[in-house]
C-alpha cells in the first residue's frame, strides 16, 4: 500500500489530491503517519514506530490501521 505519488500533505495535516482537487483535514496522528508514508516507510515499520511511541496495544492498532487504510482508499489517496 503506497500513498499516490502526487498527493500533497502538510505538517498540520492538510491533504490535497491534485488529480481530483479533493482536500482533507487530518488529526495530528494521521498527519504523522502520512509523513512516514510519504517518506516511503512500509506499513509494518510505521506500525512499529507507533507502538513504540504511543500507549496502544497491537490488536487495537491493527483495527485502527484497517480503518485508516479504508479511509485512504475511499478518499482515492492510495495506489491499489
Amino acid at each position: 500500500m503506497k500513498l499516490k505519488k502526487n498527493i500533497a500533505t502538510s505538517e498540520n495535516g492538510f491533504i490535497f489530491n491534485p488529480s481530483t482537487g479533493d482536500s482533507f483535514s487530518s488529526n495530528p496522528i494521521a498527519a504523522e503517519i502520512l509523513t512516514l508514508m510519504k517518506a516511503g516507510q512500509s506499513a509494518e515499520d510505521i506500525k512499529t514506530e507507533i507502538l513504540n511511541r504511543y500507549d496502544v496495544d497491537r490488536a487495537q492498532l491493527e483495527r485502527d490501521w484497517e480503518d485508516w487504510v479504508m479511509q485512504l482508499r475511499d478518499a482515492n489517496l492510495i495506489d491499489l
Binding site: 502526487n6 500533497a8 490535497f16 491534485p18 488529480s19 481530483t20 482537487g21
Partner: protein, 349 residues
C-alpha cells in the same frame, strides 16, 4: 504588428458579471494582467445593467450593441461606428448566441482592421448540443447518449432509451434533472417556451464535474487548464474551483482539437464517472466565466488569444500551477444614476 509597441484597443462583450456570469469581466481582468497599461478596453453591452459597464478601472468605455436577433448587418453597422471612434484592434465576443453573427462578419471586420480569432460556423454547429452526440461518435469521444425531442409525447420514448433520472436541456441554456415523466414534461414545456425547440434529453451521468478551458490554433492546443468545481450554484455554475493535474483531460482536450481543428477558445464541460471515464457534457465555443483562473495559474489564455488574433506566434504553454483556486464573490458596486442614464439614453458610457 507586435503587441508591445502601441496601446491595444480590445473590445469585449458579456459584461454581465451576475449570478450566472458572462465571461467578459474575467477576460478583461486577464487582459489587463497580460498587457499592463498598454491596453484600452472597450465594453460592448446589450443591457444597461451589465455590471462590467460601470467598472471603470476595468472598462474604459462601453457602447451598446444590437441584440443578435437584429442580425449581422446591424452588428457590422454598429461596430463600424464604434471602430470610427476607437480604432479597435481586436474584438472578443463571449456569448454563444452572438457568435454566429460575429463569425459571419469576421472577414468584413478584418477588412476594417478589427481582428478576431474564432472557430468556423461549421465547427460551431458541430459542437451544438443538438449535434454533440454525433460529434462524439464520429471522433470516438465519450458523450452521453441523447434524444432530440420536439413534442412532449416523445418524452416517453426518450425515457425508454435513457431511463430516469434524465437530463432535460434547453436549446441554448439551462438543464434540469427529471426523475419522472411528469417532471420531464414540466421541464420540456418550460424550456421550449423559453428557448424554443428542440429540447435535448440526455442520459444522466453521475460523477465529478470538471471544466477544461482550452485555447487552440486550429491544429493544436496552445493552452489547456482543467478545473474541478468545488462549489456549484443552483444554476450549475462554478462559484469556486481549483486547477487540477489530470493527464487524461489534457489528452482529451488535445484530441478534441485535432479532431475538430478548432480555432479559438472553448470550454469542455466534463463529467468524470466513478470508473474514471470523462464524458463530454457540453462544449462551450468561447472562454468560460472562470477564465481568469488560467491567467492566475500561469497560462493567460485571453492575452494569448489577442496575440494570436494579431498574427503573433504563440508557443504552446506546457506548465501551470495545480491547486490554484478561485472563489467568486458578490459585491455591491455603487454608481450614480447619471451613468445609467447616459448609457440608456445615448448607448455609450
Amino acid at each position: 504588428m507586435t503587441t508591445h509597441n502601441k496601446t491595444l484597443v480590445i473590445a469585449v462583450t458579456a459584461l454581465n458579471a451576475v449570478d450566472n456570469p458572462g465571461p467578459g469581466v474575467a477576460v478583461i481582468r486577464a487582459l489587463r494582467e497580460g498587457f499592463g497599461k498598454h491596453i484600452r478596453i472597450i465594453g460592448l453591452s446589450y443591457e444597461s445593467l451589465e455590471p462590467g459597464v460601470y467598472l471603470h478601472e476595468l472598462v474604459n468605455k462601453t457602447y451598446q450593441i444590437p441584440y443578435p436577433s437584429a442580425g449581422a448587418e446591424a452588428l457590422v453597422e454598429r461596430l463600424q461606428y464604434i471602430h470610427g471612434q476607437e480604432q479597435i484592434d481586436v474584438v472578443i465576443p463571449n456569448f454563444d448566441a452572438e457568435l454566429y453573427n460575429f463569425i459571419k462578419v469576421s472577414a468584413r471586420l478584418s477588412m476594417m482592421g478589427i481582428h478576431t480569432y474564432l472557430p468556423t460556423g461549421e465547427q460551431l454547429d458541430a459542437r451544438d448540443k443538438i449535434n454533440l452526440s454525433k460529434l462524439g461518435k464520429k471522433h470516438h469521444l465519450f458523450v452521453p447518449e441523447d434524444n432530440i425531442v420536439t413534442r412532449a409525447d416523445d418524452l416517453k420514448k426518450a425515457a425508454e432509451e435513457l431511463d430516469y433520472p434524465m437530463v432535460v436541456k434547453g436549446k441554448y441554456y439551462e438543464a434540469y434533472i427529471a426523475q419522472s415523466e411528469e417532471q420531464a414534461r414540466k421541464y420540456f414545456y418550460q424550456l421550449s417556451a423559453k428557448w424554443g425547440l428542440p429540447v435535448i434529453c440526455q442520459k444522466f451521468i453521475k460523477g465529478t464535474e470538471i471544466n477544461v478551458a482550452v485555447l487552440s490554433d486550429g491544429e493544436k492546443a496552445i493552452s489547456i487548464i482543467p478545473m474541478r468545481k468545488l462549489y456549484i450554484t443552483d444554476k450549475g455554475k462554478a462559484w469556486a474551483g481549483i486547477t487540477i493535474e489530470d493527464d487524461d483531460l489534457l489528452q482529451l482536450a488535445s484530441n478534441f482539437v485535432k479532431a475538430t481543428k478548432w480555432r479559438g477558445a472553448f470550454e469542455l464541460e466534463i463529467m468524470r464517472d466513478p470508473d474514471g471515464k470523462p464524458y463530454i457534457m457540453e462544449v462551450n465555443p468561447r472562454f468560460p466565466a472562470w477564465i481568469y483562473l488560467t491567467a492566475a495559474a500561469g497560462q493567460n489564455q485571453p492575452a494569448a488569444l489577442v496575440k494570436m488574433a494579431l498574427g503573433e506566434k504563440v508557443d504552446e504553454f506546457n506548465e501551470y500551477q495545480v491547486g490554484k483556486m478561485f472563489i467568486r464573490y458578490a459585491w455591491d458596486h455603487v454608481t450614480d444614476v447619471s451613468e445609467f442614464q447616459q448609457l440608456s439614453a445615448f448607448g455609450e458610457l
